[in-house]
Amino acid sequence: MAEASRAFDPAPAGAPLLAVRGLEGWYGESHVLHGIDIDVRKGEVVTLLGRNGAGKTTTLRAIIGILSKRTGSITYEGVETIRMASRGIARLGLGYVPEERGIFSSLTVHENLMLPPRVKPGGMSVAEIHALFPNLKERAGSQGTKLSGGEQQMLAIGRILRTGAKLILLDEPTEGLAPVIVQQIGRTILKLKSEGYTIVLVEQNFRFAQTLADRHYVVEQGRVVDMIENSQLDANIDKLHAYLGV
């Protein structure tokens, strides 16, 4: 590994909670990830920025272990997970909120909420989740997919909070949602951060990400090409525009 040639330091000071090194990943025969290096410290909100198809979602899928083929190294709290099945990775305390939200249509809202098993102690109670997302309480008996897009997103986040997972992988939580809902989700993420959750966020909208994140990784063609501290974001805005093609 030619550390010196990197344009950025992939491992900032402090022991990382999640460390990804040289991660490569495939969808069937097609090689999608070509070397992802990410560090996430406890309590951080870190975003993955990048164009469509850059490999951000695939990175999250690789971390949670649902990508069929992956190599390299992913450690969580020092435990190597690259050979583990996704159910084992989840049991370490990782929660996954997929891009398509993954609400089950054959389950009620309440059943959806109760579905993921508790993986660690200290998860939120149902009452706390209802306090966070009052809509979920009102519609507890409805079919999961009868909820609005925003409500489904709340449900997808809420059900992970119940499990005691301390690292949450959030894939484009604001996609296609009305601004008022986006704001609500932003507030929720900040609240979770204040409560000590660690969050990896995939986001297209870096203006939104800027309000939440500590650091931003830029992903391009299956590689991490840059890391920008949130405080440096405005200073690097032109570079970022170039990366994102905005």
Partner: protein, 295 residues
Amino acid sequence: MTTIFGVPTQALFGQLLLGLINGSFYAILSLGLAIIFGLLNIINFAHGALYMMGAFVAWMLLTYLGLGYWWALGLAPLVVGLFGILLERFLIARLYKLDHLYGLLLTFGLALIIQGLFRNQYGVSGLPYAIPSELSGGQRLPFMFLPNYRAWVVVASLTVCLATWLVIEKTKLGAYLRAATENPTLVQAFGVNVPLFLTLTYGFGVALAGFAGVLAAPIYSVNPNMGADIIIVVFAVVVIGGMGSILGSVITGFALGLVEGLTKVFYPEASATVIFVIMVLVLLVKPAGLFGRTA
């Protein structure tokens, strides 16, 4: 005497009741198939062979161990279920990443092997199995003689179907099952041991077949081909009800039993084909089946 199309209404009631009884077998068997197809995406052609196995296990328990019908009702599904778990673990589990067709071929082959082994050991004529003494005899209803055993078959079948439905629809376990049917990858990513779930589900689905086999043993010929004869009809029931629809398979099972019963009165020659005619019509009008969700 009142008649409908020349058939006395009294006789008609009797035939409807009999239809319902046959529907009981269709319902339990198609329920198992629907659960297995829903979660495992496997068209379980071995279902008929495992139903046959249930009946044979009942016979073996009686012959070799002296354990009667009521023991068999509990033990035979367990034995068949465990056998199913072995099949799933060592053979079927290897095929999930492949096309449906491979699962179908494998289970079809398994069915032939199981039937062949039983045929070699026990011949084709079948083995005797009597109705338990508690359920022999019958009730003289105004319109027919209803054997107690047939009444028991309907009650047992309805209870098992209802209980299964309740477990699937109303319990946490059922929620896992439904969720894993929709999106196994995500459920696995929540930390649930989905492969274990698949194994247990297959075991449970075929245990239902084993249970139906025990129910059938006292009234149908216990022979190695008994499953091959009924399974084709049951597949039609599942297709009509909608592949993978739990409630659909149960309702369709009972309903087609009734239709078949009526056909036996009005045009007996067609009673073996009527279900397939309905299947064709349903597929033309509603390809996903009556209760199926179009993907």
